[in-house]
């Protein structure tokens, strides 16, 4: 029931399926062994999301993560010809995100997708608020560059 949900979150932070599975495995282990810490004030999905995110960040910190960044091979012709960026699939977007350095990717995910504030990001990653903002700005620059290189999309955005 929550497997796809947890995997969707973990996949964004880890960059590959295998690592995401390990993160989800660890996260479910924590959920089962620390279920008594869930107080019911918020929906279970939110609590699970927080657990998965924290687990992924812990793995990033521990350095055990083997970053297998899959090379994104955009289908220039089809998408460029159609010009419909909105038709990009989730997997294609993920592949772009995967090209970001881990620190940029983590901050971008936390801020843009998961709705963390910079204060929360700074506390979670144990960095300064300025560093969080800086990483987010650089992540955006990287993504724009990727778009510009591959789709000539930067003018639209």
């Amino acid at each position: 029931m929550f497997f796809n949900y947890a995997m969707s979150i973990a996949r964004r932070y880890t960059g590959n399926i295998e690592s995401a599975e390990e993160v989800v495995n660890d996260a479910f282990f924590k959920v089962f062994t620390k279920i008594h810490l869930y107080n019911g004030d918020q929906p279970f999905r939110f609590w699970l999301r927080r657990v998965v995110i924290n687990t992924a960040i812990d793995r990033l910190r521990s350095g055990l993560q083997q970053y297998k960044v899959s090379e994104w091979q955009p289908s220039h012709d089809s998408l460029a010809e159609s010009g419909i960026v909105e038709d990009m699939t989730r997997e294609q977007i993920l592949s772009m995100i995967d090209q970001l350095p881990p620190s940029y990717r983590t901050v971008f995910n936390l801020f843009t997708v998961d709705g963390f504030s910079h204060d929360e990001i700074a506390e979670t990653l144990n960095i300064s608020v300025g560093a969080s903002k800086s990483n987010l700005a650089r992540a955006r620059q990287h993504l724009k560059a990727i778009f510009a290189d591959d789709f000539e999309f930067s003018r639209k955005i």
Binding site: N4, R90, I93, L94, F108, T112
Partner: protein, 441 residues
């Protein structure tokens, strides 16, 4: 948020579809089983805190044991001192009584002297009444009127008329010649009273003449000799024989394989000096190291003696991972070389038992034929939980340097542990230990 952010948020916020793999759930199930049995293979913050408190608790126990030992030692010293003080006070009381008795005897002796003086005056009066001139020469060579006897010599018998006075001659009588002598044969019998009186003197004490004065010799005990010199009371402290302490250790497992981390841990130790430079010692060490090898090495998985079979011929074991914890308990002999140097070298040998804790071993199998039907297959993981195992007959040979202060011993040791039980049962290791021990004096 910019348009770019919204674009990514919308796309990435969608829930993807991922294939469910049975091995993930099996792995999770085994981890949960292991958790239920008390084996927490989670290197999270809680686990680190538990390890810290484990070490802190060991230190506290050692400190409390040391302080307790010290308190008992001080109590024993106090008891010894109390007994010594009690003996000293008792001795002084006896001496005071003796001195008081001597003073009393001196008073009696003085009274007695006065009595003797009076009796001497009476004797002179009797002699003068009998018109005998008894001259007391001031010459030192003059013979005493009455012979002196040593204190231990028996008093002469009282002469009577029946016995010849010549027979009563004493060694000092040999000088009784000439005008200073009174020949006993010349004495009439009427002098018998005087002689008896003189004999009475002799029975009470030795009487001699010196410078014409009758001197009463009394053997007074030497009070200074009776008062014994107070002894210096030394606390009953034996040279330190027992010591205990803690140490940190780091080591290299042998054979040195790629992917096997260094050993690290901590331990406690105790030593008891049996005879001169020979000591009996015991250690308990907690060790930990990580294994992440590309092949299965039985020596490093002594409680998992076989490699799990591959699922298929295409699958090949790609990685073996585990975090192993061990406890080593050693008992041995240590000989410190009799050198008076700042750092004292020593050698030791110890019999060691090894307990390998339960652990989770992860085997990763990869598909050797990624170009087959269906494309590349994801790697297959197999997680196996092991039981604890006790391995004996491991011997440890070590050499080290120690620096001793009054209460502490600092040591640096290099030990080589060799497994004599079986060749592949466990690995050998070179372990460096650095620690300190408190000497319980």
């Amino acid at each position: 948020m910019s348009e770019l952010d919204n674009f990514f948020a919308d796309k990435l916020g969608e829930e993807g579809q991922f294939p469910r793999r049975e091995k993930n759930w099996r792995s999770l199930s085994k981890r949960l089983d292991a958790f239920d049995t008390g084996l927490v293979q989670n290197t999270g913050k809680v686990y680190r805190i538990l390890r810290f408190w484990q070490a802190a608790a060991a230190c506290c126990i050692l400190a409390v044991a040391g302080l307790t030992w010290k308190v008992v030692d001080v109590c024993n010293d106090n008891m010894t001192l109390k007994e010594a003080i009690s003996r000293e006070l008792e001795l002084r009381s006896i001496q005071a009584k003796e001195i008081a008795a001597l003073n009393s005897a001196a008073v009696q002796q003085e009274t007695y002297s006065r009595q003797v003086e009076a009796e001497s005056a009476a004797l002179r009066e009797v002699l003068s009444r009998q018109q005998l001139s008894v001259e007391f020469k001031s010459n030192r060579n003059a013979a005493p009127l009455f012979p002196t006897y040593p204190d231990t010599a028996p008093a002469p018998a009282i002469p009577t008329e029946a016995t010849s006075p010549q027979a009563q001659t004493t060694p000092t009588d040999s000088t009784a010649t000439g005008n200073s002598a009174i020949a006993a044969s010349d004495l009439p019998s009427v002098y018998s009273d005087s002689i008896q009186l003189a004999a009475g003197f002799m029975t009470r004490g030795a009487i001699g003449t010196d410078s014409g004065q009758m001197v009463i010799k009394r053997s007074q005990p030497d009070s200074a000799a009776l008062v014994s010199t107070p002894k210096i009371i030394e606390p009953a402290r034996n040279p330190s024989r027992f010591k205990a302490g803690i140490h940190l250790l780091s080591g290299i497992p042998l054979p040195n394989e790629k992917g096997v981390s260094m050993l690290s841990g901590q331990g406690i130790s105790a030593g008891f000096r049996v005879w001169r430079d020979l000591s009996l010692f015991a250690t308990a060490d907690w060790l930990r190291f990580d294994i992440s090898t590309e092949k299965y090495i039985p020596k490093f998985h002594s409680h998992h003696p076989h490699q799990p079979p591959n699922g298929s011929q295409q699958e090949k074991l790609a990685k073996v991972e585990s975090a192993q914890r061990q406890q080593q308990f050693g008992l041995g002999l240590q000989y410190s070389l009799p050198l008076r140097t700042w750092l004292r070298p020593a050698v030791r040998i110890a019999y060691t038992m090894l307990r390998v804790s339960p652990e989770l071993i992860t085997f990763k199998f990869e598909d050797q034929d990624p170009g087959g039907p269906g494309g590349s297959h994801p790697p297959k993981y197999l997680v196996e939980k092991t039981e604890s195992k006790l391995i004996q007959n491991i011997w440890r040979f070590g050499a080290g340097l120690e620096h001793e202060t009054r209460n502490w011993t600092f040591g640096l040791w290099a030990d080589y542990s060799n497994n004599f039980a079986a060749a592949d049962l466990t690995f050998d290791a070179i372990i460096i230990r650095a620690g300190l021990q408190y000497k319980f004096n």
